[in-house]
């Protein structure tokens, strides 16, 4: 038989809000949870009725409910808000009517639960849905209107305006991609499935990339990004693409919200065992009310009345999760004189001697020899080719060139038609007689007049291409790319794309067809039937095709000598990614990235092939 104190203990310790009322609704008895929730003492409470506590707009409803209970007996469910001493508590629960015995004036028994947390979460969810739908509808509006007009042919004959509509379509598609990626990241963070792959990363180069990407946006918003203090060789252990994501986010916030009065400053400083990156703007800063929630997800400053408007409330919460996952910290403070400093710190890493001072190529890049007696022009060619990921050595004279060529390192060469110590005709003749120089693609870069004079005499030695000075950069890069693609193999490269989605397949085919012959296989079986060992210079496989279990894909990836590029809508598993020559997540990378990667693979691949044919 339970002791009567048991009841009291239960009453006093219950986390629910318990109260006993008399026939007029006066609070006869309340438990400590009730008192704490409304922040009132028992004495103060017992002078009140329940109706005094209920928010005014609910009072009539509660009173009616209790009156009905008196008639019918039993219990009623109730959801309302109680207003105590300076707080408002959302509650739900039940009230029962009926005195335990005739001598008691206890008539109503209330059991309430504090649902403030739940209502807050619900409100955040509904705000979130409303925000996301706004963030989806805004780019969709531009996209839909622009595409509809293009499809209608409403602007035929007005090319500038058509181009504007296309640019709008691309820009707004990118916005949608960004939103989807943010949402997926948030979902991953929530599920604890955020994948971070730390490697040694040079902070300064990563910042340069991010700044490079956003420089145009900054310019279009009337501001610019400048560098302040920079540590030399600041190496950290981080996931480069995630770090880029954080930097992009902080910089684009500064561009959107930082005003145009002063440039955005980016600093790298050193603090004990960490590097600290600061992004500073001269915008309105962050209000004291909003600041504590700045890095919370879905947090939006509703009072924000200026400049770029509110964001999705996702970016900074993702940044925090990413930086923390990389072992760092992130925060913000308002600057003296106005504006924000957003900063993060990451643990510093020593540079292993192996990669110190070496360029970060995963595979040795193709290498060209540039023979040019004018140092300025030589250097310019070197710069152009370096941007195309081609390594360059310079020879200022024929003698120097012969020495360098003897090392046999080159995939091609460019040559001026006038250098001090030698006749170009003799040089080329000797080159073609040498074992290593017989098949090297040779590009002549010279003044038009000289080319006209010597072309006929030199043509028989197999000149790959002729370029006029002044040098046209895209033309040079194209010539070099074609030279690299062709050295060794005479025919156009053939690429097999394994892609189940016909539209995407067509897009990939169109994107890649400039550099190669592209065939499409709709499935792995289809791919096999085409003989996947044989003629391909590269394979592109979509991991989302229907008949692609993981081990099948891995078997494919084990194919020797054929570089394989994998693409997927989802994050790609590490074991697949490690074996692939390159991997792409569809929404993270553009078609241009894919084309670049395949282009690079083709030229590198040529390197490994035995030379079977001489240059044309």
């Amino acid at each position: 038989m339970p002791h009567k104190d048991d009841y009291r203990v239960l009453f006093e310790r219950a986390s629910d809000l318990l109260a006993v009322l008399d026939d007029r609704g006066r609070l006869r008895l309340t438990n400590p949870s009730f008192q704490r929730a409304v922040e009132m003492t028992p004495e103060a409470l017992h002078r009140q009725t329940l109706f005094d506590l209920v928010v005014p707009e609910d009072r009539i409803r509660v009173r009616e409910a209790m009156r009905a209970l008196c008639q019918s007996g039993g219990s009623a469910r109730l959801e309302t808000r109680l207003r105590g001493a300076g707080v408002e508590v959302a509650v739900e629960g039940s009230i029962t009517c009926g005195a335990p015995d005739r001598s008691s004036d206890s008539v109503f028994h209330c059991i309430f639960r504090d649902i403030r947390d739940r209502s807050r979460v619900e409100r955040m969810k509904s705000d979130f849905v409303s925000t996301v739908s706004h963030e989806l509808r805004t780019p969709l509006t531009s996209l839909h209107a622009a595409l509809t007009m293009l499809q209608m042919g409403a602007l035929d004959g007005r090319d500038d305006e058509k181009r504007t509509l296309l640019e709008i379509s691309v820009h707004n598609t990118e916005r949608l991609i960004e939103l989807i990626n943010d949402l997926l990241d948030i979902a991953k963070i929530e599920a604890g499935k955020l994948s971070i792959e730390p490697q040694l990363v040079a902070l300064d180069r990563t910042i340069d990339s991010a700044v490079g990407e956003l420089a145009l946006l900054a310019q279009s918003r009337g501001t610019e990004i400048v560098f302040g203090h920079r540590e030399t060789k600041p190496m950290v252990h981080a996931d480069r693409s995630r770090l880029l994501q954080v930097l992009r986010n902080l910089l684009s916030n500064a561009i959107k919200f930082g005003g145009t009065d002063a440039p955005i400053e980016v600093d790298i400083s050193s603090r004990d065992d960490r590097y600290r990156v600061e992004v500073r703007d001269r915008g309105p800063g962050i209000s004291a009310v909003f600041r504590p929630r700045l890095f919370e997800k879905f947090a939006q400053d509703k009072d924000e009345s200026t400049l770029g408007g509110v964001g999705t409330g996702l970016g900074l919460s993702i940044c925090r999760a990413l930086i923390e996952a990389m072992g760092g910290t992130i925060d913000q403070h308002n600057r003296d004189g106005g504006g924000s400093t957003f900063f993060f710190e990451l643990p510093r890493r020593e540079i292993p001697s192996i990669i110190r001072d070496s360029r970060a190529y995963p595979i040795a890049p193709p290498r060209f020899l540039v023979i040019e007696s004018d140092p300025d022009i030589a250097h310019l060619i070197k710069l152009y080719l370096r941007d195309a990921s081609v390594a360059v050595d310079i020879a200022f004279s024929g003698e120097q060139a012969r020495q360098l060529l003897a090392r046999g390192l080159y995939d091609g060469l460019t040559m001026a038609l006038r250098f001090a110590d030698e006749e170009p005709g003799q040089f080329i003749e000797d080159l073609r007689r040498s074992p290593r120089g017989a098949e090297l693609p040779l590009i002549i870069i010279a003044e038009r007049g000289q080319i006209e004079l010597q072309r006929a005499a030199l043509e028989p030695f197999g000149i790959f291409d002729w370029l006029d000075k002044p040098i046209d950069e895209p033309r040079l890069r194209q010539a070099v790319a074609v030279a690299l693609g062709r050295s060794g193999i005479g025919d156009a490269k053939r690429i097999l794309v394994v892609e189940g989605d016909a539209e995407l397949a067509q897009l990939i085919q169109i994107a890649l067809r400039d550099g190669a012959e592209v065939e499409i296989a709709g499935s792995l079986d289809d791919a096999k039937s085409r003989g996947y060992h044989g003629p391909w210079a590269a394979l592109v496989i979509d991991l989302d095709i229907d008949d692609a279990p993981g081990d099948e894909i891995l078997a494919f990836l084990a194919i020797d000598h054929v570089p394989i590029v994998v693409i997927s809508a989802e994050e790609i598993a590490a074991d697949v990614r490690d074996r692939a020559a390159a991997s792409f997540v569809k929404t993270r990378q553009s078609m241009g990235d894919l084309v670049d990667a395949v282009g690079q693979l083709l030229s590198l691949g040529a390197d490994a092939q035995p030379a079977v044919e001489s240059a044309p």
Partner: protein, 138 residues
């Protein structure tokens, strides 16, 4: 129905939205598909100044603007001396009660984003034709 299709000049429409892309697509749609005379502004305050020089028959007004709230601009426009422009609100958060509240605040219509450019032009023509064209006497 407004029978006077051979107006002296095309109806003027002012598009007010803080999104540059939306201003551009609205302008192109209204010009090429609707044959209207179109100008654009990026905020409410700018629009009110602009209207003094360029009285428009209709203002296409975004609700969710960061600089200068759409609703307060609506109130100012509706308080203007006759002939006050018709106001059509554009919203990306169209919920029934919101639409009601804009109509109650004096908006002539509410159009949801995303919209089809053809139906946008059609709606605007209907609104301009409704109850006598404000531009017919000009």
């Amino acid at each position: 129905m407004n029978g006077d299709r051979s107006r002296m000049r095309r109806a003027r429409i002012l598009v007010v939205d803080d999104e540059p892309d939306i201003r551009t697509v609205c302008r192109l749609a209204l010009e090429t598909l609707g044959g209207f005379d179109v100008a654009t502004c990026s905020g409410g305050a700018e629009a009110l100044v602009y209207l003094e020089q360029w009285p428009a028959e209709l203002v296409l007004l975004d609700v969710m603007m960061s600089a200068g709230d759409g609703l307060s601009t609506l109130a100012t426009l509706k308080g203007m001396a006759a002939p006050a422009p018709r106001v059509v609100m554009l919203t990306a958060r169209a919920q029934a009660q919101e639409i009601e509240s804009y109509l109650a605040a004096g908006a002539d219509a509410v159009i949801e984003k995303p919209f089809d450019p053809r139906s946008l032009c059609k709606r605007i023509e209907e609104i301009l034709a409704r109850g006598g064209s404000p531009s017919s006497g000009l």
